[in-house]
């Protein structure tokens, strides 16, 4: 296969410009230069000192940068050329679902009919937005098999904490405060961090030799002090928890609730719904499963859907469809209160609804099928080079291990990840989950083609060959990227978070 020419997701031909660093905007600044232009208003230009008492004025201490518009454009365009992105090439970053972000969804959200609306406007003047939000809530509930949802949480971790506060409110309302939350040892780090902020304690549940929750040990941890369990299914090994109904029954039997971490929801769209598996609370990462762009680390959106018994506790106010066909803000009767300054990341929510509408039920089901197909193809294709930690059918991602390369040639998972950057691919997730040695977690997503997958596999094989021929070169990789390996220890030891700290 001539994958070099055909591989759409391989970014090796990207015109990343040279090896010189880009100055900061502060270094480019020339006193007296400017770019801004403001409206001619005719408002009386009373001196500030006549409007505001002198004790409040800062004496012009705040300086920004002074550049022309042309300099501004050159600077940020050059910076953008020093940045990998989904639009540039494949991003097989496990657990992150870096699929293609349809431009149509951006365009829909950027319509002034949506994005020029002030969030504090009366509901009577924003009926379109309220209908959009109520419609999205209904569709997310259809996808997850839940009764109702809040759209307020701004990201997955915010959704987790919201879910835990819902658990707390539910148990408290029953006069049954509980302290412990169970979490598998393969869980995302946000899970235990959220548990602490939710006022609970973490009990870790070990995985068994198949990479799944050890049901016996789980049952041994269960008692009436268990508020609930947080699970990702498929789990972070990309494996489906096959005993999920038994797990759900056992947790429910002691009065606990089941929380579904939706980070891996992409794998099961249209195949199985969290509600049908017995989950009570589900958060969704719209910036993963529903393809809203990740923005270099946000914005995301982390709506939380719940089963019937938790509906009355949801954050509010919620956009609600009224009997007369209009929409209103309604606060659930025992709401835990706001978890966001306004109504959530509304523009992200609008993009997700557009994505759902384009795909429909049939399209979303295909999304999961092809995501799982791609991951299994890659796992199988690479088994001689990077064996899977658990070599059986996986879901949307596969956790491979570089242990053979490490043992034979001293080449670690990080070296493979960094060498892949030279090959025009983003790295997979490295060293996660923690329970797999030299883990390399690949999530190809459904939007990459067979040709791109083949190109990725060939790149991994070339790296494996380099491990034999010249392992030291791999320790130095990458060299063709805008910068080579950075000194992370130095950054932490001597913190320079601003230009002003740098110049001190």
């Amino acid at each position: 296969m001539t994958s070099r020419a055909l591989s759409g997701g391989r970014a090796a031909s990207a015109p990343l410009m040279g090896h010189e660093t880009e100055p900061t905007i502060f270094e480019m600044s020339v006193p007296g230069r400017s770019a801004y232009q403001l409206r001619t208003t005719g408002v009386p230009s009373t001196a500030l000192a006549d409007l505001i008492p002198a004790t409040h004025l800062n004496g012009d201490v705040v300086n920004i940068a002074e550049v022309s518009e042309r300099d501004l454009v050159a600077h940020f365009t050059r910076l953008s050329h020093r940045q990998f992105s989904v639009d540039l090439g494949m991003y097989p970053l496990g657990s992150c679902t870096m699929k293609y972000n349809p431009k149509f969804c951006d365009a829909v959200a950027n319509d002034p009919g949506l994005n020029s609306v002030h969030p504090g406007s009366p509901a009577e003047l924003t009926q379109g937005w309220l209908e959009l939000l109520a419609t999205l809530e209904e569709k997310l509930c259809a996808v997850t098999g839940m009764a109702a949802a809040t759209l307020q949480p701004a990201a997955g971790a915010a959704g987790e904490l919201t879910g835990l506060l819902l658990m707390r409110a539910y148990h408290s309302a029953n006069g049954d405060p509980r302290r412990r939350i169970l979490i598998p040892d393969s869980a995302h780090g946000t899970n235990p961090a959220s548990v602490t902020l939710g006022g609970f304690e973490v009990t870790t549940v070990p995985s068994n030799d198949r990479g799944l929750v050890d049901l016996k040990k789980l049952k041994a941890s269960l008692d009436p002090d268990v508020a609930g369990i947080m699970l990702t299914n498929p789990n972070t090994l990309g494996l489906f928890e096959e005993e999920i109904t038994e797990i759900a029954a056992a947790v429910h039997e002691v009065g606990g609730l089941l929380y579904y971490d939706g980070a891996n929801l992409n794998a099961i769209l249209g195949a199985v719904r969290p509600g049908d598996m017995g989950f009570d609370i589900v958060h969704m990462n719209l910036h993963k499963t529903f393809a809203t762009p990740h923005g270099g680390g946000g914005p995301g959106a982390g709506p939380v859907a719940v089963s019937q018994r938790l509906v009355e506790f949801l954050p509010g106010p919620k956009a609600t469809r009224m009997d007369d066909g209009t929409f209103a803000w309604v606060k659930p009767p025992r709401s835990i209160g706001r978890v966001h300054g306004w109504h959530g990341n509304a523009m992200v929510l609008a993009r997700a609804l557009a994505y759902i509408d384009v795909h429909g039920g049939d399209g979303l089901t295909r999304v999961a099928k092809y995501a799982v197909l791609n991951a299994n193809w890659l796992r199988h294709r690479l088994r001689a080079t990077l064996p899977a930690a658990y070599d059986r059918v996986c879901m949307h991602e596969c956790v491979l291990t570089a242990t053979p390369l490490k043992n034979a040639y001293g080449v670690r998972g990080l070296d493979v990840a960094k060498a892949l950057l030279e090959e025009g691919f983003h790295s997979p997730t490295v060293y996660f989950p923690l329970i797999v040695e030299e883990a390399l977690m690949f999530e190809p997503t459904e939007t990459e083609s067979l040709q791109t997958l083949e190109a990725l596999a060939e790149a991994v094989e070339r790296i494996a060959q380099r491990a034999i021929d010249d392992p030291d070169a791999l320790h130095r990789a990458p060299q063709t990227t805008p910068v080579s390996r950075v000194d992370e220890a130095r950054a932490a030891r001597h913190l320079i978070p601003t230009e002003d700290a740098a110049s001190r």
Binding site: Q37, L48, Q83, D87, L93, A155, A158, I336, R485
Partner: protein, 455 residues
Amino acid sequence: MADYLPHTPAEIDEMLAFLGMDSLEQLFAHIPPAVRLTQGLDLPEGMSEPDVAALFTNYTSANRATASEMTCFAGAGVYDHEVPAVVKTLAGRSEFVTAYTPYQPEVAQGVLQAIFEYQTLIARLSGLPIPNASLYDAATGLVEALNMAHGATTRQKMVISAGVHPHWREAAKTFARGTGHEIVEVPLKDGVTDWRIVDATNAAAIVASYPNYLGVLEDMSEAKALAVANDALFVLGADPVAAGVLKTAGQWGADIFVGEGQPFGTPLAFGGPFLGLFACTTEQTRRLPGRIVGETVDSNNRRSFVTTLRAREQDIRREKATSNVCTNQTLMAVTAAIQLGWLGTQGLREVATRCAQGAHYLFDELVKIDGVKAVSTQPFFREFAVHLGHDASAVLLTMANDGVLGGVSIAALTSGPDPSIDGDVDDVLLVTVTERRTKDEIDRYVEVLRKAIGQ
């Protein structure tokens, strides 16, 4: 059938054959049949993009409070500032929009350096040396500040001025359900926090807003003195545009600054995604929530940037992390850096000044109207609250018919009586003026309001 999937039927067959399978169903065979969805999702069939676009016009046309239909005088932390084409173009570059979190710094110097420049700007605007790389919004930023104050003092009591935006206060109460913080609200008198009546003994934080959410400029030395007297941290929520001309959080002696970064290049966007600004003193560095970018060098000794102090974060420290924040609002932070680059030193001062000039001009005209009364006699910056003697929500709807979004009704923000307003809140309207409002628009506002309240 519409989607973005590249697979042809022949390729699917080829891939399945490689796996020794003959149907896609086999990939899901290990899922227990009892929970398998057999009838598909209860959603309509997929539609083409143009068909969905047509569907979305139902939503856009049902929104009346849009820029094309109404002149915006609404604020409450969200402001209608100029966003020029150059900022939209640069911030919309797909390298910024479709990147992931910069975990591989060798191919993420673009986002990392932009965040470094953003952090520099936030440090300057706040007057505090340690910024982070952004939080979700100001309300959740305040929650992180309270958690930091708890970490620094091990105390639970949070003394919060009612001048802090009602939504921020409500978020603080929501998350206190988990952390167990005790939230003590301090009422306003004539629009100014009545610190003297509160017992701040054992407080972890004294929290104020500058200007406060009613627009009033309070002298922050009293709040600072209260914090010092009680060994509490001083948390100041501040309007970052105000920092163009008004004292910074650092100048007032704040330990932690939080703010809403929407005014820097982000549209009104029905409330999100916005930008949680955060900065603190060096004493609190190890308790900083979320990500921070630091400068370093690469193996060839070239200046480079990388996310640092990672040992604080959730993916490493897990249940002992200082915060659970992972995904934040990077794109809005990059946007803010670009917008501030466009404004420059002089532009920011001019925007701040023009906001103050416009707001004072409108205020002076409004209080001439019979029945309109200022909520506070104290100085204000760019926003003010007035009693209308009429239900403010009803007045807003009447004004809307004349193409004016007249402000934000306080009752809509507080959902009931609030310690920020003495007495009934239903007739109180919060009004703002940005640099985008002309004298003609402001004069028309006065006329439309007069008409709406029958004056």
